[in-house]
């Protein structure tokens, strides 16, 4: 799932751990706080730049065609930089699970590099614009939320945005991603790209076409889980409901 709506990343006071009380700040070292604040400001800025570039493009050209090509360098830079978030979890300055963050960042990297970048014919599909817009708004909200949390000055609107925008943005983003992968399928099948056939001396094969199909199928169990998790977090944070979580 490419939406990075998981809580607790980037040093915010939200813990991915359900049991930690929302709003309780983990005691971070000074250096870690400085670094994370810098990182989150940089990412907010980066995605803001992307947003402005996209708006300007549409105002000048009036179409989504060519949009990806015009913003691809910036997109690749900032989305790939997000790999650092996995490191943040690994070294413990962010209280989210490495696995969850890893999955989310990987799915974004996958979408950018292994689908949109690599399968040129689909770069002008509407679905690409759809997920780009969704990602941009999501990330600006998310990174500014983390930034303000780290600075201990969280404007109510940012908190509200972080826990309400996803209701629309998340399904929209998923739709954009799925439609893009679907559009890419015929080109993948025809070109046999990223695939390994038998016989070979390592006795393994890989068919990227079927891999994409399985990826699309995996959205079915994953998307509802992540979506309902965010809905539960929303109820907890915005309405102070005491939710009884199923004990694992």
């Amino acid at each position: 799932m490419a939406s990075s709506e998981e809580d607790g990343t980037n040093g915010s006071s939200e813990a991915g751990d359900e049991k930690e009380a929302i709003g309780k700040r983990r005691r971070l070292g000074f250096l870690a706080t400085v670094w994370l604040t810098f990182y989150n400001i940089a990412m907010t800025a980066g995605w803001l730049v992307l947003a402005i570039a996209m708006v300007r493009f549409y105002m000048e050209k009036g179409t989504h065609r060519g949009l990806y090509k015009s913003i691809q360098k910036t997109l690749k830079f900032f989305q790939t930089l997000a790999l650092l978030e996995v490191v943040h979890c690994l070294i413990g300055i962010v209280p989210t699970s490495v696995l969850v963050t890893g999955v989310q960042v990987s799915s974004r990297i996958f979408m950018v590099w292994l689908v949109t970048h690599s399968i040129k014919p689909i770069q002008n599909e509407e679905s690409v614009a759809l997920f780009l817009v969704s990602w941009t708004v999501t990330e600006i909200t998310r990174y500014s939320f983390y930034t303000f949390s780290l600075l201990d000055h969280l404007p109510h609107f940012i908190k509200w945005a972080r826990y309400n925008f996803f209701i629309i943005l998340y399904p929209v983003g998923v739709a954009g991603e799925l439609l893009t992968i679907y559009a890419a399928l015929p080109y993948v099948k025809k070109s046999g790209m990223f695939s390994v056939r038998l016989p070979n001396k390592y006795n393994v094969s890989f068919d990227y076409y079927y891999f994409l199909l399985i990826t699309m199928a995996s959205y079915i169990p994953l998307f509802p889980q992540l979506y309902f998790h965010m809905l539960r977090q929303r109820r907890k944070v915005l309405h102070g409901e005491v939710i009884v979580e199923k004990d694992d």
Binding site: P199, N200, K201, Y202, N203, V204
Partner: protein
Amino acid sequence: MKHYEVEILDAKTREKLCFLDKVEPQATIAEIKTLFTKTQGKSLKDEDVLQKLPVGTTATLFFRDLGAQISWVTVFLTEYAGPLFIYLLFYFRVPFIYGHKYDFTSSRHTVVHLACLCHSFHYVKRLLETLFVHRFSHGTMPLRNIFKNCTYYWGFAAWMAYYINHPLYTPPTYGSQQVKLALTIFVICQLGNFSIHMALRDLRPAGSKTRKIPYPTKNPFTWLFLLVSCPNYTYEVGSWIGFAIMTQCVPVALFSLVGFTQMTIWAKGKHRSYLREFRDYPPLRMPIIPFLL
């Protein structure tokens, strides 16, 4: 000396959490806290005696529903029988797996037949050990584990078997030299793994759940206990590395890697609990790889 009765309530819900009825007047809050957490912390064992618990004369026991459970034996038998059966489906090239012209044909490579023997032997050994050798500490595990575990074992077995028994299978680059070396590793590690299972069984009398430090016995395969807490896992990884070299098949290597990762986690946990439970635990031992990990 007059004793105090101390009642601890949850601050938010006012629900009674604990009742300590024989608290010394000189007890500090810290001591009361430990009395409370001791009665709430780790699970009690079936063998614990009521009188010996630190609860005074009124004992409050907390019940935690572990959810649907299934016996370890059932899980092991199911998860091991699958690979044994599934591999054979591919070995005999049962219809609808490979092209129809290959149905029920046999590979012309010796190593493919050898691999089938090794794989089948491995899982037969596991099944027999489950039935006759292992002595389990816990009777049951959560029910969802059987689905998780079977997906893992059966899935990987099918994936490996598909390539090894494929009509387009390519035998190892260094031919029979490579196969012989790999087979030797495999056999040694299987014997080693079995020896460790027997040694562990002998540590524990039938029907008991006692835990003791394992030590090397007269059997040279058990001498690995000098260097490692869980030599059974060490030998298991070795067996699969041997099998990977023998078949020169990437899925087998991946299976070995995943298994190694999981067994390392288990070994580290076991090593830590040995260290916690036994003051005199041999300091030279590492969890799974001598001197390294």
